[in-house]
Amino acid sequence: MGLSWSNSRRRTTTFYHPHPPPPPPLPPYYYHPGEAVSLLPRHRIKITTPPYNNHQQPPHHHHNLTLILHTLHLQPNVGFTSALPIQLDPAPFVDHQNAKRIRNDVNVHKDTLKVEIDVSNPDHFLVSFVFDALFHGSITIFYFAKEEPDGRFVPAFPEAHLPVKISFQKGLGQRFCQPSGTGMDLGFFELDDLSKSSPEEDVFPLVIVAETNLPDDLTDEHFDSMPNTLRHRQITQAVFEKKNGDNFNVRVIRQILWVAGVRYELREIYGIGSSAAEGFDDSDPGKECVICMTEPKDTAVLPCRHMCMCSECANELRLQSNKCPICRQPIEQLIGIKINSGDQRG
């Protein structure tokens, strides 16, 4: 099936964590794939050369540790993502397993999410982003929406705004732009509220729900490839950050995927973006296992979610210090993650 995807550099992989998710621990140190690791020496020396940027959020642009990638692989109907098997208590003796891949029919590229002023309707802001969809479906935009246990979203201030729902056609790498006139006057809210997430109450200032239609609506050849009658729904929860002037940046806090009635929380795997996804080149320090510096890295560590080793070295480390090479947290589990396309069907 020859559907090519022009923006293939975006191809990435997402890692889902089954619900309920543990609070995401900020990794204490960040790994920069190109250079050494910023582990603090005993005397708390801060090495200040740029790669050693301790205790800081990774910069929010593309080339960093928190590469999350998303989604769909090149074949149009193979939208798989890596995920943990749905198993809340991993069997005690199973400590190395391969990530389960979950087909993800719709995905919002979280680093493309923006709000912009509606030029024909000043003070109102329109949402835009890039997304992939294997089936037709719809996007719904909520402001200050609360997540119900069943995965529905309910506006916390229904008097202030109602959700906006817009249909889309299937397609990869398409740009969603909220139609003029349907925007939101963010001036209505306090800046403090806009920049605050309340995960414990499941209320976020901006919630994007992207869902595919039920297969009944499908009229094409993909019908057979989607035996499951449940629609896929991906939720992106974000906060606003005041930029210069009247503009806002959008910062995505988390993404959730509902597939076959199961809720997965998208967790980033640190270091996955520089892994072997695009073919392994032995001379590229970002893609190689940090231990042997020879094999491509294909194994992530739980609970810290650092991906920096090949499976052989990871298993060896399990017998040695059993601590993550990046953050030194004890290793509870190893997850093999193969990113190469083509063999996900198994």
Binding site: P41, R42, C292
Partner: protein
């Protein structure tokens, strides 16, 4: 025989150290033992181990740099367990520092319990260079020097500078 079966990681690290040396640090393997490195670290600027002193002539406004020392020799060895175990490193140049003892042994956690296989020769040497900028007399290896540092820091710093001039001239 000493170099047979050298792990690929060590070969790569060596190549990268030679082709892209870190500023103020050089490390090259011995000919007869590729796990044994001769290392030079320049004392960091604004530390008592600084290598270069600058001067300015008030009459002519000309500037210059005087070589006053600050070149520290070390030796580094990658044990068989490396990278699961830390490299072994010590100073060969005498140095007055609360975390370095008379035999040049270094008190640095990443060389001991805080070692991680994600660290490399380069990062270890950068950490040692950083240790020169940030002596920590609260976790000493040399009790006397640490005591000196804590009670009369200015004087201890002067001694460190003096030792740098005496022993770390790079000659």
């Amino acid at each position: 025989m000493a170099n047979s079966n050298l792990p690929r990681r060590i070969i790569k690290e060596t190549q990268r150290l030679l082709s892209e040396p870190a500023p103020g640090i050089s490390a090259s393997p011995s000919e007869d033992n590729m796990r044994y490195f001769n290392v030079m670290i320049l004392g960091p600027t604004q530390s008592p181990y600084e290598g270069l002193g600058s001067w300015r002539s008030p009459s002519t406004s000309s500037c210059g740099v005087v070589e006053t020392g600050g070149v520290f020799k070390l030796e580094l060895f990658l044990p068989e367990e490396y990278p699961m175990a830390a490299p072994k490193v010590r100073f060969l140049t005498k140095i007055y520092h609360p975390n370095i003892d008379k035999l040049g042994r270094i008190c640095l956690d990443i060389l001991k319990d805080k070692w991680s296989p994600a660290l490399q020769i380069r990062t270890v040497l950068l950490s040692i260079q950083a240790l020169l900028s940030a002596p920590n007399p609260d976790d000493p290896l040399s009790e006397n020097i640490a005591k000196h540092w804590k009670t009369k820091e200015a004087e201890a710093v002067e001694t460190a500078k003096e030792w740098t001039r005496l022993y770390a001239s790079g000659a």
